[in-house]
């Protein structure tokens, strides 16, 4: 689905390098690493905000650089990491914004768009929230709405930058479980950066480990192995 | 104890004597509502009543004439120049508003200091006042009071309010020249000048009483969204009435300005044939400030007169010379184009 071909990422200096890495559809991958190691930079390189220093990233066989903005946003969706809710913006309208790459010049929603929205909201269990204002629901509910918004974008790949940072333990577990299920059911490739090591190991989520300037993919690691790797800077 | 009682009685008697002596001393001012000047002990006692409260008086004793006056309004300069006392001026507010050639020259020669009254009397430069070694500051208190008074008094500078602009009669206004006469030691000249003006004024009035002019007149102009015109009991309106103008708002109560909408002026101005004081010297200048003026029914057809070709002269001398104003009005009312006019010119 997505291949990192010997990439180097960073702003002025190189932060991380990788050999050939391939991420598959139907799976959730956890991007793990110490703070400041370059996780956010990697995610920004994926979304085209920060150019790669070396190498190529291919998404569905097309190099990222060759894609137009519209083509890119039809392949990658980003879940907002901290959505605090907006006054007078209803949940259903917020989620509907995820259909932006697919709608016409005026943003009109067709039957098909509404169907997708309804389906995703149902899968995430937030149908009851649809008519509420986004600033009047809980943090956990808001995070689910942000996920819903990314899913209705109907992209093969979804990125989350520390989505669980402000959630309590139960909500974190719930979110990760839902992501794993949806990835499997809808054959999406989901990449999320997170510090929830134990949860990821529990859910058997493969890890993209960033440490000592290297990015490596690891299917199964124990907690000790991860911590050991991370302690090397 | 007895000594104290005797002393008290002496004081009382002294007071009574003073009062009876005062009764017999005449006030030089006969028309002014607020100014009173009397001889006293070789000098002058000046009493200026505050226009807004009968019980507030400004009291001044002028022992000897001064050659160091700072004056903040145009009328003050006008009165001093009429007395040929331009040399007594050491401070003025702003050269841009001066007409008197002598005062202009002296200012340019740095013999008179400009006090930077850019916005109001309250913001004059005290430093410059001191630099000019002023003895008296004459102010108008347009905004109600003169905030520097206390401070300046501590610095040894006397501040005198001049309320000529609050006077409601023409001669009452002109009479303030006597104050300047008292200040500069030219009281005789001032009295003589005022007497001349008084006679000329009465003469013009008599001339005007024979003029019967049915032509309707409007005064003022639009500033922003409103037309400002003198109210019926104001100084200007009274002067108009005495001249025989048929000023359309002469019956509207008030001593200040009226603020009317353009609509009202359009309606009331139907038969107007004379337009006084539009505030601009030419028709195109009037249009420049207000393009819609061309719709006024009297814009094209009325005879228009204003002083703006020489505003500084008007502001300096019109208060002192109501006889000149009446002479101008006479020329206007009789449509006498050949006659010399002091302030007004036809606006074309």
């Amino acid at each position: 689905m997505i291949q990192f071909e010997h990439i180097a990422i960073g702003y002025s200096d190189v932060l991380l390098r990788s050999a050939f890495i391939e991420l598959e559809a139907g799976k959730v991958y956890a991007l793990i690493g110490r703070n400041g190691i370059g996780k956010s930079t990697l995610l920004q390189s994926l979304t085209g905000m920060v150019p790669l220093k070396e190498g190529t990233i291919r998404l569905l066989n097309d190099s990222l650089e060759t894609l137009s903005r519209l083509e890119l946003v039809k392949r990658i969706a980003v879940v907002e990491s901290r959505f605090e809710g907006l006054e007078y913006l209803k949940v259903k309208d917020y989620i509907a914004l995820g259909r932006t790459p697919h709608t016409d010049a005026f943003g009109n929603l067709k039957q098909q768009d509404l169907a997708v929205i309804h389906e995703i909201a149902g899968a995430l269990g937030i149908l009851a929230l649809m008519d509420k204002f986004t600033d009047q629901i809980s943090d956990g509910e808001r995070q689910l709405c942000a996920v819903a918004r990314a899913f209705v974008q109907e992209t093969p790949m979804i990125i989350l930058d520390e989505p669980t940072a402000f959630l309590d333990y139960l909500n974190r577990k719930k979110l990760l479980t839902i992501l794993v299920e949806l990835a499997r059911d809808q054959q999406k490739c989901i990449l999320l950066s997170t510090h929830d090591l134990e949860l990821c190991i529990q859910e058997k989520v493969p890890m993209l480990l960033a440490s000592s300037g290297k990015l490596s993919l690891n299917e199964q690691l124990t907690l000790d192995e991860v911590l050991n790797e991370m302690s090397k800077y | 104890m007895i000594f104290l009682v005797l002393l008290l009685c002496a004081c009382q008697t002294g007071k009574r004597t003073e009062k009876s002596t005062q009764k017999s001393i005449a006030n030089y001012c006969r028309y002014s509502k607020y100014l009173s000047i009397k001889d006293s002990l070789g000098g002058y006692v000046v009493l200026i009543q505050h226009p807004d409260s009968k019980h507030r008086y400004y009291h001044l004793f002028i022992a000897q004439p001064t050659k160091r006056l700072s004056v903040l309004s145009s009328t003050h300069i006008g009165m001093l120049s009429a007395l040929h006392q331009e040399n007594a001026i050491v401070g003025i507010s702003d050269l841009r508003f001066v007409f008197s050639p002598l005062v202009r020259n002296r200012t340019l020669a740095k013999q008179i200091v400009q006090l930077d009254q850019a916005q109001s009397e309250q913001t004059i430069s005290v430093d410059k006042l001191l630099e000019s070694k002023t003895e008296y500051v004459v102010y108008s208190a347009f905004s109600g009071s003169f905030s520097n008074e206390e401070r300046l008094r501590k610095l040894g500078i006397q501040c005198i309010p001049d309320y000529d602009w609050r006077e409601e009669s023409a001669l009452g206004k002109a009479e303030w020249v006597l104050l300047f006469g008292a200040l500069t030691g030219k009281m005789q000249e001032a009295k003589h000048l005022f007497s001349t003006i008084e006679k000329a004024f009465q003469k013009e009035k008599i001339k005007l009483s024979s003029v019967h002019q049915p032509e309707r007149m409007i005064s003022g102009n639009v500033t922003g969204d409103f037309w400002y015109a003198p109210a019926g009991d104001s100084y200007m309106s009274q002067l108009y009435r005495e001249s025989g103008f048929h000023y359309i708002y002469q019956h509207v109560k008030g001593t200040g300005s009226l603020a009317y909408s353009m609509e009202k002026i359009m309606k009331d101005g139907q038969q107007v044939q004379i337009w006084m004081n539009p505030g601009f010297p030419t028709r195109s200048a009037i249009l420049g400030a207000n393009p819609k003026a061309k719709y006024l029914p009297f814009f094209s057809n009325a005879r228009i007169y204003c002083y703006t070709h020489n505003s500084n002269k008007y502001w300096e001398l019109s208060a002192l010379r109501p006889d000149w104003l009446l002479a101008d009005f006479h020329a206007i009312l009789t449509n006498n184009e050949g006659k010399k006019r002091y302030f007004y010119q036809e606006v074309r």
């Binding site: 946003v73 007078y88 | 819609k292």
Partner: protein, 331 residues
């Protein structure tokens, strides 16, 4: 996707509009007959004072109240969405400062930029659009919106300082003229100028409708909007351009009018309870127009007793409203 209730509100407002226009036309101090109105528009006789009054004074004033109220509110809405700040208004980018500066130079320094009667309005328009273009140019070079806002505010302060300096050197007459211009007036527009004003106004509204999609997404912030496919630079450019046109047009003909551009978009959002800009455009145009028509009608009705300048009145109503808004936000 418009809710039924929103549609109802818009229809009510649309219905109120002709009533407000009628009330405004009738608010003058003078009683005028209906036939005068009819003739003034369709059978104009420029010798009839009453017809002149209607055609050259009342109608332009009424149309300008409508256009200014609607236009400023719309521009305010654009600024508030772009900067995600409910305190933004059409003047935050210094557009009216640009107009102010050129008018100050023109009126008070004797440097005449244009000769004819069109001159003052043309000057203001050029000043406003100039400031607008400057901001658009700056916007291309800046990454963040906060920076753009700051540049706009600094530009406003700078021009205000220049104007102050010019004022201190000005003669009394020209200073008075300039002060009067700064007070804002709906009465300077002429009947002949109405077609161009209305054309530009309608064009602007139509342009904003074309921006509904990016505006709706922009509420999420520029980053998220970008990741949903919105072309941020282009959208910013267009928003600024339309704001400059609207605010510039209105400032050129009326001088600066306070508070409308900031208060009405907030009021509209509170009334409509939506972030959908298709509805908000209708709301701002209608509520803004109704507001200024109402205010000016009151001013006209009181003209016999009180002479209230326009900006004083809008500020009188607007300032308490701003305080109210702030208190709500803090809560």
């Amino acid at each position: 996707m418009k809710d039924r209730s929103l549609r109802l509100i818009v229809i009510c407002l649309l219905g109120l509009l002709p009533i407000a226009m009628y009330v405004h036309l009738m608010s003058g101090q003078i009683e005028l007959s209906y036939s005068s109105y009819w003739k003034a528009i369709f059978d104009f006789n420029n010798k009839d004072t009453y017809q002149v009054l209607i055609r050259e004074f009342r109608i332009p004033r009424m149309m300008m109240a409508l256009v200014a109220g609607a236009g400023l509110s719309l521009a305010g809405m654009l600024m508030q969405t772009l900067f995600k700040n409910p305190l933004a208004g059409p003047y935050v980018l210094g557009i009216n400062s640009g107009a102010s500066l050129l008018i100050a130079v023109s009126m008070m320094t004797g440097i005449q930029l244009f000769q004819s009667n069109f001159g003052l309005i043309g000057t203001a328009l050029i000043g406003a659009m100039g400031a607008g273009f400057l901001m658009m140019f700056v916007a291309q070079r800046l990454k963040s919106q906060i920076s753009l806002l700051l540049v706009g505010l600094m530009f406003g302060s700078f021009t205000a300082a220049l104007v102050s300096m010019i004022e201190s050197k000005a003669g009394a007459e020209s200073l008075k003229s300039f002060t009067m211009w700064s007070m804002g007036s709906l009465q300077q527009v002429t009947f002949e100028q109405l077609p161009i004003i209305l054309t530009l106004f309608i064009l602007s509204i139509a342009s904003v409708f074309l921006l509904v999609k990016p505006l709706n997404v922009l509420v999420l912030g520029e980053k998220s909007a970008s990741m949903l496919g919105i072309h941020i630079q282009r959208t910013r450019f267009l928003i600024l351009g339309i704001t400059a046109l609207l605010a510039g047009l209105i400032t050129a003909f009326c001088g600066p009018i306070a508070f409308v551009g900031m208060a009405i978009p907030n009021l509209t959002r509170m009334l409509f309870r939506t972030s959908n800009h298709a509805a908000l455009i209708w709301g701002n145009v209608l509520i803004g127009g109704l507001f200024l028509l109402g205010i000016d009608s009151i001013i006209q009705l009181l003209e016999g007793q009180l002479s209230i300048p326009l900006n004083a009145f809008t500020s009188l109503i607007g300032a308490p409203f701003v305080v109210f808004l702030l208190m709500r936000k803090i809560k």
